[in-house]
């Protein structure tokens, strides 16, 4: 009996050895990050994902679309080259911006990030014009002039046609774009230069209109890039590819509402809406579109004040892709917006 036991023992130990090997293999694969182990970049390129894969930290396997977009726009070699020229601390930030840029290009293949830039510039222009109008009206009130007619028009006449002359008489003096009649051009001002007698005209046309008078590389956009060498503090949220409604719209859709109004009327109606219901911005398509864009961008921006930025920044780098995104309401957006931070690079 003892001899039989001796014969069977090697087989038993072999089985035990195989069991141990299987267990260690499973543990290794689990540590690698799943049953497959390869990052999205290596999966897409169908190659083995090495332990020191430079792209693995930024492209998790469960989000293949992220890498597809980046690969489509930049290409692997370009990304690796960009990363090689940066410090360790800067690489996560750079990758986030690259991923964002690629995502935007995927959503808007023609204009990409430039479209968003110009849209924001337009919104700044509109807001500045509104502010000018409101301030001038305030000034009149403060000077003790009683003008009941403009008051009623401002408060009660919602969305109705207004007497442009009377508005101008009040010193609002808004620059009216006379080209709105047919060719749907909407001027936009550069936020950098204060005086601009003839802002470059840019037509936000409907989809069917082909005659673009569009200059996608205005100097103002370049000025913004030149003058603002600041670093962003990214948020701690995961890239929103789990959401279907990413919130970006074709800029033509955004402007198709605005183009139907005279610029003064557009400003007046927006002013009244703000006065009447600060929380009812969904009525305006352009506000809704901005909220959607803002929601997406806010997810990327860090919602911390500058005094807290350094601590949060140190902790957020590398963790930004781990936390899920929560849909935020308008009030939360505004609250978060107050805490945007900028840290200087140099």
């Amino acid at each position: 009996m003892s001899q039989i036991k001796t014969i069977h023992n090697p087989i038993g130990s072999l089985e035990r050895f195989l069991d141990l090997l299987l267990i260690s293999l499973i543990v290794y694969m689990t540590l690698k990050g799943g049953t497959s182990g390869a990052c999205a970049a290596c999966k897409y390129q169908r190659r083995r994902c090495a332990a020191d894969c430079p792209l693995a930290p930024y492209f998790p396997a469960e989000q293949p679309k992220l890498f597809q977009n980046v690969h489509r726009l930049f290409g692997v070699r370009s990304i690796v080259k960009i990363l090689e020229n940066l410090d360790e601390l800067q690489r996560p930030e750079a990758m986030k911006s690259i991923i964002f840029q690629s995502y935007v290009r995927d959503r808007n293949p023609v204009h990409g990030c430039l479209g968003i830039t110009q849209q924001l510039q337009y919104m700044i222009w509109v807001a500045e014009e509104e502010l000018k109008a409101v301030n001038s009206q305030l000034q009149l009130y403060r000077n003790g002039q009683n003008h009941p007619n403009p008051h009623n028009m401002m408060i009660h006449e919602l969305g109705e046609k207004q007497d442009l002359t009377s508005q101008l008489d009040l010193g609002m003096g808004l620059p009216v774009n006379d080209n709105n009649q047919g060719n749907n051009t909407i001027p936009f001002f550069s936020p950098v230069s204060e005086t601009q007698p003839q802002p470059p005209h840019m037509s936000y046309c409907s989809d069917q209109v082909n005659n673009h008078d569009y200059n996608p590389t205005p100097d103002s956009c370049k000025e913004i890039v030149n003058n603002h060498n600041t670093s962003l503090a990214w948020g701690q949220n995961q890239f929103p590819y789990n959401h279907h409604n990413y919130g970006f719209i074709n800029q033509n859709e955004h402007c198709s509402e605005t183009k139907n109004n005279n610029s003064v009327m557009a400003i007046q109606s927006q002013l009244v809406n703000l006065q009447m219901a600060s929380n009812q911005q969904e009525e305006e398509v352009d506000d809704q579109n901005y909220d959607e864009i803002h929601q997406f961008l806010e997810i990327i921006d860090e919602s911390q004040s500058f005094t807290e930025t350094k601590e949060v920044y140190a902790s957020s780098s590398g963790e930004s892709l781990k936390e899920p995104i929560d849909e935020v309401g308008e009030k939360e957006l505004r609250r978060a917006a107050t805490c945007f931070s900028l840290t200087s690079v140099n």
Binding site: G75, V110, M123, C221, T230
Partner: protein, 131 residues
């Protein structure tokens, strides 16, 4: 030799010059990268690569290609100037500005409402204009 194809008779486009290849009549880059702007293609190629740009151009409609090229040139230049954030930095700055202006506008509107309500109170006291 066909004179209707200016690319063939004139100098090659900036892209073909950079890539050191023959600029044919159906070169996809030629209409958008004139030889007078060599830096435009150089930047785009450096960041995105010529093949990616070519694919993007083939994916968009012909009447949108110029816009697409110009936006790519802008993004490439921005990325070269700021390798970390590129053009996204500008977006963030503008977004902050928009929020700041909206906050300021809300505050100013509150002031305006206050004045307006005072005026409304006065008019109602004098004639009941406000129901």
């Amino acid at each position: 030799m066909s004179l209707s194809y200016s690319n063939y008779t004139n100098s090659p486009c900036a892209a073909c010059k950079f890539l050191r290849r023959k600029c044919t009549s159906d070169c996809v880059f030629a209409p958008y990268f004139p030889p007078e702007e060599p830096l435009k293609f150089a930047n785009v190629h450096r960041i995105f690569g010529a093949s990616n740009v070519s694919k993007i151009l083939h994916e968009v409609a012909p009447h949108q290609r110029e816009d697409a090229v110009n936006s790519l040139a802008y993004e490439a230049e921005a990325r070269l100037k700021d390798p970390v954030y590129g053009c996204v930095g500008a977006i963030s700055v503008l977004q902050r500005e928009v929020l700041r202006l909206q906050r300021e506008l809300e505050e100013t509107n509150v002031d305006l409402m206050r004045y307006a309500s005072c005026l409304g109170g006065e008019t109602s006291a004098y004639g009941g204009r406000r129901g």
